[in-house]
Each structure stands twice: as C-alpha cells, then as structure tokens.
C-alpha cells in the first residue's frame, strides 16, 4: 500500500514539475527584459547595511546597462536584413539592446495590435496614415521639438493628431508612377519625348502592344488584382483621382473627407484600361494573379511597369536606364505632372513605454539619421531619408521625381493615404474591378464608380459611426 501511495505521489510530482518547468521557462526569459519588475528586488537589497558600500560601485556602471532598450516593430519586410545589421551595430557601440521584429507583409496592423498588448511592447512603431493616427494617437509620444524632429529637413509628411500633437515623422520618402524601360520604347521606334501626356503614352503603348509578337515584348507588364498586387491600382493608381479632386477643393486634405465627387473617374478609367488592354496578360486572367510583373520587366518582356521607387534595387541592375513617368490620364495640363511623392513610413515612439525606453529609442533614432555609416545603410534600403545629415539618395526613380520638380512640374501627394477603412474599401473596389475586367462594359464600370465614390462615403461612415 505504501508503495502505491509513493508511486502516486511521485507521478503527481513529476506532472507538477513538468508544468512548473514550463512556466519557469517563461518567467526566466522575461526577467532580463523587464526592468520595472526587477526594480523592487533591488530596493530591499539596498536596505541591507552590508550591501551598501559595495553596491555603490556597480551602480556607477549601471546607467550603461540600464539605459533602456529599443524594440522596433518594422513595417517593411524588404528592409529587415539591413535593420538587423543596424541593430547589432548600435548595440555593439552603445550596449543598448535593440530588437527589430518585422511584421509579415500585409499583417502590420494585426501584429502591432498583438505586440502592443504585451508586457514589453514595441517602443518604436509605424503610424503611416490618418487611419493609423486615429487608431494609435493615444500611444504616440508628441514628437514636437524633440531631437529627432529637429533633424528633419522636410516636414511635409509629418502626421499630426486632431489636437495638434506630432504623432509620427517620416523616415523614408518614396514615389510611384509608371516605371519605363526607355531602351524598349526606342527599340519600338518611339522616343521618350513623345510621352508627355496621356495621348502620347496611349499612342506608344498601343503601338507596342499591336506589334508585340514582332517586337518580342509588350507594352505593360501584367496587372494582377490578387492581394499581392491589387494595391498598385486600388491604392496607388487610385491616387490620381483623389489628388486631382483634392486640387479642385483648393486645399490640401488634412483629414479624410467624408465623400468624393468622382470627378476624375474617367481619367482613372483611361489609364487603367490602357494598362490592362495593352499588357502581357489578358485582363480576364488578372483576378487570381499568379503572374510575375517584376520579372517580366527585368527580362525585357514589357516596357512599362506600374510600380514605385522601392523597386529601384530590384530593376536597376537589369534595366540601368529605367526611369519613372507620371500617371498620365488625360487631365488638362498634365504635361506639367510629376510623380506621386510621399510616404507611409513614419516613426512613432510608444508613450506608454517606460521613460527610459522612450529615451533610448529617441537616441537610437537620432543615431540612425546622424551616424554616417548607419544612415548610408538605411538610405540605401529606404530610398531616401528626409534628414539633414543623411546622405543623398541614389535611387534613380527619386532622382526622376526631383527632376520633374526641378522642371517646374507639380508633385502629386499621397492623398490615397486617406482611404477610409482601407482594407474593406480596397477589397470592395478590387471585387468591382474584377467584374469589370471580366466584362469591360459601361455598366460594370458604373459599379466600379459606385465602389470607388459611394464606397468611400460608406466606409467613412463605418469608421466614424
């Protein structure tokens, strides 16, 4: 009997130990991270008279070890490698731990939501548009007159909360439009000088498409509408409609307008139709995607590619002459149009992090934009950084954007960042455009207009209701 009892007790203990070991592992790894938890433990120690004399010396060194830590929740998967390198450089130099976690493509808001609820939330995160400001303004430190804000040389992309708090500041400037391979345009017997407006673009694109078999390349790359590509149209190309509407209103949008007029929908249709009708892939096959537009461009299968400046490193080796032209869509005076310049990459500091961590984060950011080696690495990854001491960008598309501005052309801002309830809005618009691609009738275009214009008001109401 005794043996039975003993075995029972032993087994139960083994089970409990297993469970506690599991818990123990968790708290063990947490300890070094959590400084606030460690603090009460050091207090009683100080009360012990014997410990006092010795405790003073290590305390003198402590600021280095306890100078906070940085946790950057990164938005750009393509920059992860560089950011890990930067983090190691900074830790090696200062001893401050820097953790960089990159959210998987398209899951930033979900990841941010989950991470912010943890006991060690991100200290540095991204608030890239007005929707982000709305969601996260209560968690963002006011950056007005902070050392990092004072380093900015361009404040146009700063994001403010309705009560005037500077919630986030840009760390990367980008542009989008239509990437062109001028060599192919010339091989087709045309010149880049012909393309100064929609009619010029249309003539060149339609001619190339008509002679695609003979030339060995087509006008536009594929224009997939699956979730990995649809943002090029429902996000970026849609910007031309918003931008011109914004110009008509006479003001720069400071917050999301409650409704649109749709005054430039025909222009949007002009350019969209031109892209999908003169491309390597039939428009009826775009809904589920699966085509590799970037590869089509760098292998010389198409002359035009609707994309942005972040593609420079991917295309410049194969197409060194690649340049970018504006969204020519038939708007009056568009000969003076430039590229769509702006950003969705804006830094915010978590004001709910400990003061120590906030300061460590601020110091880290300043180092990123002032240290010659670090800023050079970051500029290469982020295209351009709007800070006084950062090196100039080597991105050819941003150079093209600057050239347009130098020629007196207007730069189109990213009004698309105001899209209300962005995921729902874009999903609805994508579905309508899929129907239109399957059967490009006026009636189906009317549905696109409904999703584009009325959908805006609907989603605005959903967000603000």
């Amino acid at each position: 009997m005794k043996l039975n009892k003993l075995i029972c007790l032993l087994l139960a203990l083994v089970l409990c130990v297993g469970l506690l070991a599991g818990c123990g592992g968790g708290s063990g790894s947490k300890e070094p991270e959590s400084e606030s938890e460690a603090a009460p433990e050091t207090q009683p120690e100080a009360e012990e008279p014997e410990a006092e004399p010795e405790a003073e010396e290590p305390e003198a060194e402590e600021p280095e070890a306890a100078a906070g830590s940085v946790y950057w929740l990164n938005f750009k998967p393509e920059s992860d490698e560089v950011l890990q390198q930067i983090a190691t450089m900074y830790t090696d130099k200062t001893g401050v731990p820097v953790k960089v976690v990159t959210a998987a493509s398209g899951t930033y808001s979900q990841t941010l939501n989950a991470e912010m609820d943890k006991s060690e939330p991100p200290t540095l995160f991204v608030i890239g548009n007005t929707a982000g400001v709305r969601d996260w303004q209560d968690y963002a430190l006011d950056l007005t007159d902070t050392p990092i804000a004072n380093e900015l040389n361009n404040t146009a992309a700063n994001l403010y909360s309705p009560d005037g708090k500077l919630v986030s500041i840009p760390y990367s400037m980008e542009c989008y439009g239509i990437i062109v391979n001028p060599d192919l345009v010339e091989a087709a017997g045309h010149s880049m000088d012909e393309i100064t407006n929609f009619d010029g673009l249309k003539t060149v694109a339609e001619d190339i498409h008509a002679r695609a078999a003979e030339l060995g390349f087509d006008a536009f790359t594929s224009n997939d509408m699956d979730s990995s590509s649809n943002w090029r149209y429902v996000g970026h190309m849609a910007n031309l409609e918003y931008y011109y509407e914004e110009q008509d209103s006479g003001t720069t949008w400071a917050e999301c307008p409650a409704s649109l007029t749709g005054a430039y929908m025909d222009n949007f249709r002009n350019l969209y139709d031109l892209c999908v009708n003169n491309s390597t892939v039939d428009r009826t096959e775009l809904a589920t995607g699966g085509h590799d537009a970037q590869n089509e461009f760098i292998t010389g299968k198409a002359a035009f590619y609707v994309e942005g400046s972040w593609k420079w490193s991917a295309v410049s080796e194969a197409v060194p002459n690649a340049t970018m032209i504006p969204y020519y869509c038939g708007v009056e005076g568009e000969e003076k149009a430039g590229l769509n310049c702006g950003t969705e990459n804006c830094w915010a500091i978590n004001c709910k992090a400990s003061e120590e961590n906030q300061k460590a984060t601020m110091d880290f950011m300043v180092w990123c934009v002032t240290d010659p080696e670090a800023s050079a690495l970051l500029v290469e990854s982020f295209s351009a950084m709007p800070y006084k001491q950062c090196p100039a960008s080597t991105n050819g598309f941003l150079t093209a954007a600057d050239a347009y501005v130098a020629d007196g052309c207007y730069s189109m801002d990213w009004a698309t960042n105001f899209q209300p309830n962005v995921d729902e809005y874009r999903a609805t618009l994508t579905s309508a455009m899929n129907q239109y691609n399957a059967d490009p009738t006026d009636a189906n275009w009317d549905t696109v207009v409904t999703a584009f214009v009325d959908g805006w008001a609907t989603q605005y109401a959903a967000v603000n209701g």
Binding site: K5, L13, L19, N113, T284, E285, T288, A438, D454, G455
Partner: protein, 300 residues
Amino acid sequence: MKKRHSSVNAVSRTISKWGWLFMGPVVVAFVIGFVWPFVQGIYLSLCKFRLISDAQFIGLGNYTKAFSDPGFLHAFWYTALFAVVSLVIINVLAFAVAYALTQGIKGSNLFRTVFFMPNLIGGIVLGYIWSMIFDGILSRYGTSILMETKYGFWGLIILMCWQQIGYMMIIYIAGLQAVPEDMIEAARIDGASKSQTLFKVTIPNVMPSITICTFLSLTNGFKLFDQNLALTAGQPFIIQPGGTAVKTTEMLALNIYNTFYGQNAGSQGYAQAKAVIFFVLVAGLGLAQLAFTRKKEVQQ
C-alpha cells in the same frame, strides 16, 4: 474474493485521495488555456477596446450592432447552407468509402492512407492549391472562382470534402469493424439481402460513429476560416447602389475576423460580440445534433 474486493476498494480510495494531484495540472492548464480566455472574451464583448488591457465597459451595444449587421446575417445563412450541404456530402461519401474499404478488397490499407492524407495539409495551403486548380480550369472559360458566387460555394464544398472525407472515413471504418460478425451472419442466415443488412443491421450499429462524424462535420463547417480566406476571401462582392457591399462567399469566422481589423474605434468589441454569438450558435447546434443522433444509437 474478499481480498480482491478490498484491494479494489483500496485503489479507489487512493485515487479519490490523490486524484486532485493528477487532475491539478490539467485543470490548471484548462483554466489558463480555455476558461480564462473564454470569460475574458465574454467580458470584452461588452467593451470598447483597441488593446485588451485598455478595455472600456459599454454594455450590450456591441450585440445590438451585431444583430443588425446585414453582412453578419448574410454570412450566417451562407455558413448554415454550407455546413448542411458539406455535412451531408462528407458523411455519405465517407461512409461509402469506409464501407467499400471494409469489404476486404485488395490494397485497402493503401487506399485508407491515401484518402486520409489530405487531412494532414493545412487549410491555407489547401485553399491556395485549390484556387490554382479551379482557376486552371475556369480560366479556359474566361472566368475565375472569384467571379461567381456559385463557383465559390461549390469550390469550398469540394475542398472541404477532399480534406474531411478521409478523416471521417477512419472513424466510420472503426465503427464498421466493431459491428459484431455474428449479427451479420444471423442476418444472412435469416435471408436478409445486402442492402437490408446494411440498413437494418450495420447502420444502426455504427450510429455512435455517425453521431461523432456529423457533429465534427457540422462544427467544422460552421468554423471554417482558413480555406475561406485563401480560396475566395469573400469574393465576389455585390456592390449595392449606396456603395455598401455584400460579400457573397464570406462565412461567419471570416466575417468576425474582417470586423475585428476594421478601423472603427469600436470594431474590436463589436467583432468580439459576434464571436460570442458565434460560439453560442455552434455550441447550441452541436449539442442539439448530438442529442438527436444519440437517440438513434442502439445498445449492443
């Protein structure tokens, strides 16, 4: 005899004395992993929150909103239809396959393995694989699974059947093998035909398997998420004149997910309320179905 009886008693006494030590870890894990999140989930459905640590109690407003959401109601009816259709097809086919594979045909073991294998592939992967297969076929006709509601519906049914039939088949095989041989033999001697033996002897005897399989396929049908997200993501949408959209192939779980990540300040609590309604619905239907099929079970 007496000695044996007393030793059995002693064991049960020991178990009742020390049982809590064995149960303890499991109970703790169950409370941490299920009971606490569940209770917290119910509380959050009554709150407005962005982060769960910052929840603000608002009462039943989220429930009122959920019941008046046409998208949620559409998703409910669509999911119900899907669950019923998939339940019937999966169970009929799984039983047929299990029946065929217990007739002693050559290579039964190989077939069982092959039929079971799709169940080992994750839902998201399956969704993308099947989306390629369907589109490979539909693109010949100038369309895609995202273009027609009916393609999306039957696409999901085919995918679900392909994945689940093998799993249910294994349960049915176990049930069929447990049918007493002497009963079948007695039926044969009494002159029962094959179909009479199947319907009067075999099926009543595998009712416990039918109970568990219908329960699993009904709840799986209601809870379907990954495959729905990967295969159609709710497309095609019907765009209403006012700019609202009905997501024709969006099921309940996907509707809750999409609601949760909406940008309205209250959308998290609102989605949480939908999730609680969803739980009550699935649990209620599952229990009702269990009670119904249990009645049909026979004692051997």
